[in-house]
Amino acid sequence: MNALASLFAALMNLPERPMRWAQGRLSGGRLGWVFVAPNLAVFAVFTFLPIAIDLHYALTGGTNLLPAERPFVGGDNFASLLDCSNHFDASSCRRDLFWYGIWNTLRFVVFQVGLMLVFSLLTAIVLNSKIIGRGFFRAVFFYPVLLSPVVVALIWKWILQREGILNAGFIGAGITPVNWLLHGNWAFFWSVFVSIWAHMGFYTLILLAGLQAIPAEIHEAAAMDATPPWRHFQRITLPLLMPSVLVVFVLGLIRAVQIFDEVYVLTGGGPGTATTFIVQYIYKTGFADQVRQYGLAAAASLLLAGVLLVLTLIQLRGMKRG
């Protein structure tokens, strides 16, 4: 361990000489560029350049990965994705899976974000009241946040399987067992449930911090005036907590739109297309299908990016106000 530490120290001393040289040549703060450069270079290669390449892919067709060998097709990829005889009926669309993905994602976002907001707010309020063992309970609610989505999915798959403990409990209670992940609506319900289970601790923590930032004097003043609890919450706590609620809402929205990992492992997008979401469409089209249609995947990515951009701008505006 000591040898490792000294090796590390020696490594970190290596840049000393070239940096001194650069320091002699660059005046003022321009040495700052040297410090920023490595990080910026990685950003350039893996974030900014890809956006440009995304555009190129979206405007070209074929299945070739090499950009130079892809024929230009203009807006064909976008047109193909958006080609529906009835936009409210996914089965009437040329790329029906894309539209199943959109509608499922929309449905998922409404339920997941809505319910998660309610439960994390409720949990934060309970954790903020006078309770025994607050640290313990806070840790318990937060713990699943740290788990790998694959682990989360497998934990629940084990519980929800046909001969799992949930069905055993149902039989014990005299209720007919259900094949949870093989019924479209149940699979969707569990996708929402599991993703709330895995993430609500994070949002609870933000809301709890928001609650604790409200000065105690305000609550005391309200208590002096004998404000009824519900009115107290509605007129005092909630308005003061609004900035945190907005952060949680938009962060939750941004993440929910990109739902993939845990649901993909839990249900594989099925049964049928019941839990296929938009990111799974991108992954499937670009990487998992026999014929890899990079152009379609890139076009779908850009459409998703547009949605995320709008959401982020709303968040930034909200944060500025908060």
Binding site: E16, G29, I51, P67, V140, V145, P149, V151, V247, V265
Partner: protein, 346 residues
């Protein structure tokens, strides 16, 4: 006594909201922790123990006994008839009948109806589920891949992000603000958006099926730069000026003064980075297609997708993936929750 309880807000003074709050929390513990505990208990059951339905809470296993000339036989307790109260070993089943022998006198075959015997079970943790991971699977390789990616990516993240944060907080140069805004803007470009082009870039650079293909795209995090910059802004500039007076090089100032002083923020970022890399799924799945380059989550996913899922190994593998994160959490719980509450990032 009554006065004492009342003074310290004992149970006697609980109103219904206190009861409701604690009931909610206890239910919450059951829902949040129960599934993980169930996974842990199940991972200690033997392959046959897992097939028992309804499942038992603890890892029970049917006892077996070595019978001379017949090998290992399963043990049953006879509940009715002439042999009631005896423990007999089952040789085979014939329709609704069972052929059993007394382990002490294996020569005489005893026929009994199936419903007059119950399995003899005993509590035993099937640790072979865990040791089997190392014997039957390339588990060490997956573990190593995950550890390598997590460790190297975290070190590089800390280095690159802190260098950038140092420049953005302690230097004045033309373009500082645009660079900072540019880095913040990358928050709006999540990896899901750039899957296809990043795959091309990784392929061009020869990074597919290599741990570096997972490491490089991940090391320049906007979150990290932002977190460290905010922290470094609070460090007094006088320290740096004093070091310059002593003719320390700028690199030395960064490496020997600013970096050690930023330890709390670096620790928060290190925890984040470890969690991100250890748990990452979609991008590794795209860039690592050969099984020998798989990380633990990828191996888990591939393994669970196989038709004949061996749940005993899968559960053990899931537990092993979960344990490091759990240990880190138990050790650093306070830092993690405070770090997240203050940074508002994940």
């Amino acid at each position: 006594m009554g006065r004492f309880l009342a003074a310290t807000r004992g149970f006697g003074r609980w109103d219904w909201t206190d009861w409701a709050a604690h009931a909610y929390l206890v239910l919450g513990v059951l829902v949040m922790l129960g599934p993980v505990l169930w996974l842990g208990l199940s991972s200690l059951k033997s392959e046959s123990g897992l097939l028992v339905f309804p499942p038992t809470l603890l890892p029970y296993e049917q006892a077996s006994v070595a019978v001379e000339g017949r090998g290992n036989l399963k043990l049953f307790h006879v509940t009715a008839g002439e042999y009631a109260g005896h423990d007999l070993a089952e040789v085979r089943r014939l329709g609704l009948q069972s052929q059993l022998v007394d382990p002490a006198a294996p020569a005489t075959l005893i026929r009994l109806p199936l419903d007059s015997r119950v399995p003899v079970t005993r509590l035993r943790a099937a640790w072979e589920n865990y040791s089997g991971l190392f014997e039957q699977f390339d588990f060490l390789r997956y573990l190593w891949n995950s550890v390598f990616i997590t460790a190297v990516a975290t070190i590089l993240t800390l280095l690159l992000n802190s260098m950038a944060a140092f420049a953005l907080s302690k230097y004045r140069f033309a373009g500082r603000e645009p660079v900072f805004l540019l880095m913040l803007a990358t928050l709006m470009i999540p990896p899901t958006i750039v899957l296809v082009p990043n795959y091309l870039i990784a392929a061009t650079l020869g990074l597919t099926n290599s741990p570096w293909g997972v490491i490089w795209p991940a090391v320049a995090t906007p979150t990290g730069v932002f977190l460290l910059r905010q922290y470094m802004l609070t460090l007094p500039d006088e320290l740096i000026e004093a070091a310059r007076m002593d003719n320390a090089s700028e690199w030395r100032i960064y490496w020997r003064i600013v970096l050690p002083l930023s330890a709390p923020a670096l620790a928060v970022l290190a925890i984040f980075s470890v969690m991100w890399r250890w748990n990452e799924f979609l991008w590794p799945m795209v860039v690592l297609s050969r099984s020998e380059s798989f990380t633990l989550p990828l191996a888990l996913n591939a393994f669970q997708g196989e038709l004949t899922t061996q749940w005993n190994f899968l559960l053990a593998m899931t537990m092993v993936t979960l344990i490091p994160v759990t240990v880190i959490f138990l050790a650093l719980q306070r830092h993690i929750t405070q770090g997240i509450a203050s940074a508002g990032v994940k």
